[in-house]
Symmetry: C2
Subunit: 222 residues, 2 copies
DNA sequence: ATAAAAATTTAGACAAATCTAAAAAATTAT
DNA sequence: ATAATTTTTTAGATTTGTCTAAATTTTTAT
């Protein structure tokens, strides 16, 4: 029920999963770039993954994960994110120093271990970076979509839609570095005028009005 | 400061360390047997360990760990035992199901991780099997030696000496399966006559008198 | 539509860790 | 002390994952 694939294979599956998310189509070069390896090595591995039915692949024709491959990738991602949560919440690591360690921990095979860890942590829905944690069946709790006024304080939300798409609105948003996919948190809500103070990682805080907030929609994990 | 040796090398170092403890001298066959591998593979690895100055080795002449090798082995053992402690105390695993998982976890390289884990666990001195946990410098807290009357309840002690060595005493001890090296715990202390109820792993409980208890010495970790 | 560029794959090699079979050294038993 | 046995080592393969260099296919640009 456990230990099945080498760390290397698991890393390929995970990388392909992530690249599929953003691009739809994945290329040999993308993967080589993501994994800091050579395209020739990627081709070699694609053949092995295909032979194990984890990948749908015809040479020169691109590739994508099979259902089985996606399942495996999701389990790795689950492990990675649970370990990150553990490191930050229990061992007091900073969110910016846990990735590397989790890259190692995610290859520990015991399923029982990870399910017990999940329980110990209180079944968290998202990791310290705000990314959702798949449950033991590989399902995500579907993200909730709300406007910025209704995003709970200090919850990371990902911008998923803009209500008023007038050029004036878009100019304002681009000035404040807000775009589709941007990750942000509401740090403060001023009762006086319902204006909000927002924080985007690695950037100084910005303030937006209630009018703007009503027109920015975000997804977040409860 | 971290990640240095392959899991395979670490396993050899650990095995040699353990074999050195009990035998004094370690042989190629011993290691092959311990690691479920072939003698030829052991010889191959011995050469590599020697080249890295982790092992003092002349062919056909036997071998032992260098200071550096022992240091590395102790760090692996530290990691193994801390993870076992974590699994049992925090994730509610049974003491008999943690070994295999800890065999994997012990190869995670981050020293910071293991020191933080140690702190999180409250710097335990011994693992769930009663084996001492080396500190971050590789030192053991020296075991305390007491007679059985003074062994705290539910602490694992290892029989390290017998006071009265008369044939009658030895007969009694052998009948109750107590010998030098036996691991046992005091489960109950009867105030009425100071008799003790003892538990040895995988055996039914036995009772001994105060007189016997005074003559059995054990080492245990505080 | 074809030439140039880019992406991908193949061919052949290498390092790590293992194996089998055979050779060499050490130990033991008479 | 020498022959038999056991232990250890060497020689040569194998597997996994990687690489470089060259060949092939696809894409892009004119």
């Amino acid at each position: 029920m456990n230990a099945k694939f080498s760390s290397s294979k698991e890393n390929y599956l995970k990388a392909i999963f992530h690249l599929q998310k953003s691009d739809g189509v994945v290329t040999t070069n993308d993967v080589a770039n993501e994994l800091q390896t050579r395209p020739a090595s990627v081709t070699d591995m694609l053949k092995k993954l295909k032979a194990q039915k984890l990948l749908l692949y015809e040479k020169y024709k691109g590739f994508r994960l099979s259902n089985e491959g996606r399942k495996v990738a999701l389990q790795i991602i689950r492990k990675h994110r649970l370990w990150e949560y553990f490191l930050v919440e229990k061992l007091n690591f900073g969110w910016d120093e846990v990735h590397e360690i989790a890259e190692e921990l995610e290859h520990i095979s015991s399923k029982k271990l990870i399910d017990r860890l999940d329980e110990f942590l209180g079944f968290p829905k998202s990791d310290p970076h705000g990314d959702p944690i798949p449950d033991s069946q590989g399902r995500f709790t579907p993200a909730k979509q709300v406007d910025l006024l209704n995003l709970p304080l200090n919850k990371i939300g990902e911008v998923s839609g803009i209500g008023d798409q007038s050029p004036e609105m878009l100019e304002l948003l681009s000035h404040k570095n807000i775009a589709l996919g941007t990750r942000l948190e509401v740090k403060k809500k001023f009762a006086f005028d319902n204006s909000l103070e927002l924080k985007i990682r690695n950037q100084p805080s910005v303030t937006i009005s209630e009018h703007v907030a009503k027109n920015v929609f975000v997804k977040y994990d409860e």
